[in-house]
């Protein structure tokens, strides 16, 4: 009997939760705010779905309802991607060691 591909995705999901668990516990508490902003940025990889949604269908029907939702989602996710990574970078630049 063949294994449903869903089971593979579920395995990836569960293993990733474990990876996340151990990786996040090793994050130093002083970087918890950048952690939140960077997780924010990477969860915007949902833009992948938004792009598929926006480009679905023939080219003469660029703005069907489903495409419009796709374009809206692209805009929201893009705000997050640029905003999230840039603000994280800005914060991380500020963490400096004592000058010896």
């Amino acid at each position: 009997m063949e294994i449903d591909p869903f089971i593979f995705r579920l395995s990836i999901f569960i293993l990733s939760i474990f990876v996340g668990y151990y990786v996040v516990w090793s994050v130093t508490p002083s970087l918890h705010t950048p952690l939140m902003s960077v997780t924010n940025a990477i969860s915007s990889v949902i833009i992948v779905g938004a792009i598929i949604a926006a480009l679905a269908g023939a080219s003469e029907t660029t703005f069907e309802t489903s495409n419009i939702f796709g374009f809206l989602a692209i805009t929201l996710a893009a705000v997050n991607i640029f905003g999230g990574f840039l603000v994280t970078q800005r914060m991380l630049q500020m963490y400096k060691k004592k000058k010896k």
């Binding site: 995705r9 480009l55 705000v79």
Partner: protein, 464 residues
Amino acid sequence: MSANLSAFFYLISGILFILALRGLSSPETSRQGNYFGIAGMIISIIVTFLSVGNFGQGFVYVLIFLLIGGAIGAVIAFKIPMTAMPELVAGFHSLVGLAAVFVAISAFLKPEAFNLGVVGNIKLASLIEMSLGAAIGAITFSGSIIAFLKLRGIMSGAPITFKGQHILNLILGLTIIFLIYYLCLSQSANIFWTTVLISFLVGVLLIIPIGGADMPVVISMLNSYSGWAAAGIGFTLENTALIITGALVGSSGAILSYIMCKGMNRSFFNVILGGWGVTDQSAGSAVKEQKPVKNGNADDAAFLMKNASSVIIVPGYGMAVAQAQHALREMVDALKKNGVKVSYAIHPVAGRMPGHMNVLLAEANVPYDEVFELEEINNDFANCDVAYVIGANDVTNPVAKSDPQSPIYGMPVLDVEKSKSVLFVKRSLSPGYAGIDNDLFYRDNTLMLFADAKKMTEEIVKSL
């Protein structure tokens, strides 16, 4: 691009995202980590364009919208003051949530584009995944909006509670599950829309009973939700990058919520159900007897600290509100010139989000190796001459260790009272968020400095 090849690249993106979080284990590796994250994102986006393979008119529009959103995001990222980070993060969470809802709606309206079947006959598993993704996304969106409004001060930070609130939430939660079940049977668009609408409502109802000082838990929790929503959509789209990221973000937010709850010695449910700290302050102050406090000014404080050999600074939310971090750094510089050893003590729930104080101090150019967490520094108070408490209150209250009747009993606190003298910068004697009087105000070795945190610190700098 073939499906297998793109799946492989999505896996690489997922790994880069893991490395991005891994980098945050120390400030030195963190910047590199951020670049890994950016690389992962770029790979994901390019691979998606190649696998869709539609470079017509639509592609141009996609780029336009991408750039519009990106420009808005970039402007926000550069303009935002560091004190506003909590509301910014809440706002970003709401966008992820709403994007998840929009993608789910789009997939429901046009399942062919995602290989999920046809309208009216969407694959069962996909239907469950997309409706769960949409529901969690909607809760994340409206919940984050409420958190944003509360943090921004547009909405009062006071908990909003009413009778039967928890039962209503429970009923609505069960309704969502029932609707998703019914949706699977009927494939009806109306049911899908109703599910989304009720989820928006649940998000609002979940966050309104939670008070301002519990915001660190709320933000972490919404962070976690945004991850689970992304994972739900990832399953729908059969996209590994999205599944991995969703799981990472989901567990990251959950761990942060746990750390924040532990910092307050409260259970997660206790925070979520809300209503803590709803004390009638006017009634409380009427009965309270007048206890004597020692009142000092900037010169007294400057004298005490100048002659100390070690000073520990305890910042709290009040420092963020007063934007006092730069003045504080100047004060510390002046003290260091006098040969005083200075360090900073940060309580896990100081401020309005995890790590809030650390970012503000970093912004003021405080080296991160002078900043310590509660467990690292708590024993040092006994050997320190002056503790300078600026904008913190409940996290220093010794009652948490002595009075089992107190609502904050058992919460880990900074042992400020063990230092030889305590300088407490505060605007008035009013109790903190928990509504509990702080015994520390009336101790013999405490000098109260009644003023705005920034003004007082600036005055101290002048008299140093």
